[in-house]
């Protein structure tokens, strides 16, 4: 009588190396997983390679835990704002300081003009001779009157 033996798939080093990722990711079927593990029991080299692969994956995972600087987004946005300013048309860029100077000068001249007009029309109710006198003269007049 023949006994039906279950076919046992033996894995060699080449197969084992090619399937390391599937093993780590848990993608191997039960039978393949068993033959992979039984190969690891007898092959020190493949066992070492598996350990290295696991270590490498762990190092990459840990590198992925490194976070960018909290202010990175702010730095990016401020660089973009600066670039945006540089992108203004060249004529506006050149004329902007000149326009600002003209505006300030205009405001000052306007102020002076308004001041002089209001000074000219101001009615103090006193004769022009008195408005031109200074306080010292007034005191002098008072002294003379007392005498």
């Amino acid at each position: 009588m023949f006994l039906m033996k279950k076919r046992k798939v033996k894995m060699d080093c080449e197969d084992c190396k090619n399937r390391i990722d599937e093993y780590i990711e848990g993608k191997l079927g039960n039978e393949d997983k068993l033959s992979f593990e039984s190969h690891l029991h007898i092959c020190h080299e493949c066992h070492e390679i598996l350990n290295l692969q696991v270590l490498a994956d762990r190092i990459i995972k840990e590198e992925n835990k490194v976070e960018p600087d909290f202010y990175l987004a702010g730095k990016i946005m401020s660089r973009i704002e600066n670039l945006e300013k540089e992108h203004d048309p060249w004529l506006i860029r050149i004329l902007r300081p000149a326009l600002a100077t003209i505006a300030v000068a205009g405001a000052i001249m306007g102020g002076v003009l308004i001041g002089s007009i209001s000074a000219g029309t101001a009615d103090t109710g006193a004769p022009i001779e008195l408005t031109l006198m200074n306080d010292a003269e007034i005191e002098f007049i008072n002294v003379l009157a007392a005498e």
């Binding site: 190396k17 090619n18 390391i20 990722d21 070492e48 390679i49 290295l52 692969q53 270590l55 490498a56 994956d57 190092i59 990459i60 840990e62 590198e63 992925n64 835990k65 490194v66 976070e67 960018p68 600087d69 990175l72 987004a73 730095k75 990016i76 946005m77 660089r79 973009i80 704002e81 670039l83 945006e84």
Partner: protein, 198 residues
């Protein structure tokens, strides 16, 4: 409208209409992803942040060219990969002295140790440095595929869309990359072992 509920295309539309502040929503949404891709390429926090800034500035500058054939995320990933590759190529052309000073910059990848055993920390640091060297020595396409897969956790389909390859081609690329990486790690591990024995 809530920032989170606004989709990328709506935000892009309002940025193009002159609302630059809306771009901040995209920056907040994608900065960590871009940073991790950059970190996978350069393994250095400061450099990865500089690259992240560059990626978003280029994105903002060319936003009007975004046609929407692919998703904004795919388009941004492409820009990120290109900026990273340019940075790496630029560094390769740097004079030796500059490269040495870059090597000694104090902020190279700091991996938080989950063990207190100093020997284990040392072994891990040695392996970490070796892993970075192994990744850096991969051919360009393999390196892109492995960084997007491992550092950004993207599927083969997403990687295929970013680097304009078929899914099958990406699968083959990833297999070659992993095999190469495994060989380099094994030889590196032997070197570390030999060094320790001496």
């Amino acid at each position: 409208m809530n920032d989170a509920s606004q989709n990328d295309n709506e935000i892009i539309k309002s940025v193009l209409e002159g609302d630059t502040n809306s771009f901040r929503i995209l920056v907040d949404r994608y900065q960590t992803i871009v940073f991790h891709i950059a970190f996978g390429f350069v393994h250095n926090q400061e450099e990865a942040e500089d690259i992240t800034q560059e990626v978003f500035i280029r994105t903002w500058q060319s936003l009007s060219k975004f046609r929407g054939d692919s998703s904004f995320s795919t388009w941004l990933h492409r820009i990120a990969v290109n900026v990273c590759l340019n940075q790496i190529r630029k560094e390769k052309r740097l004079p030796v002295l500059n490269r040495i000073s870059l090597f000694f910059r104090s902020d190279t990848a700091e991996i938080p140790p989950d063990t207190e055993n100093p020997e284990e920390i040392l072994i891990r640091e040695e392996h970490s440095v070796w892993l970075q060297k192994a990744l850096d020595s991969l051919p360009e396409k393999q390196r892109i595929a492995i960084v997007l897969s491992k550092y950004d956790d993207l599927s083969q389909k997403e990687i295929a869309a970013i680097i304009n390859l078929t899914e099958g081609a990406v699968e083959a690329l990833l297999q070659r990359a992993k095999r190469n990486l495994r060989e380099k790690l094994t030889s590196g591990s032997k070197k570390i072992e030999n060094k320790r024995r001496k």
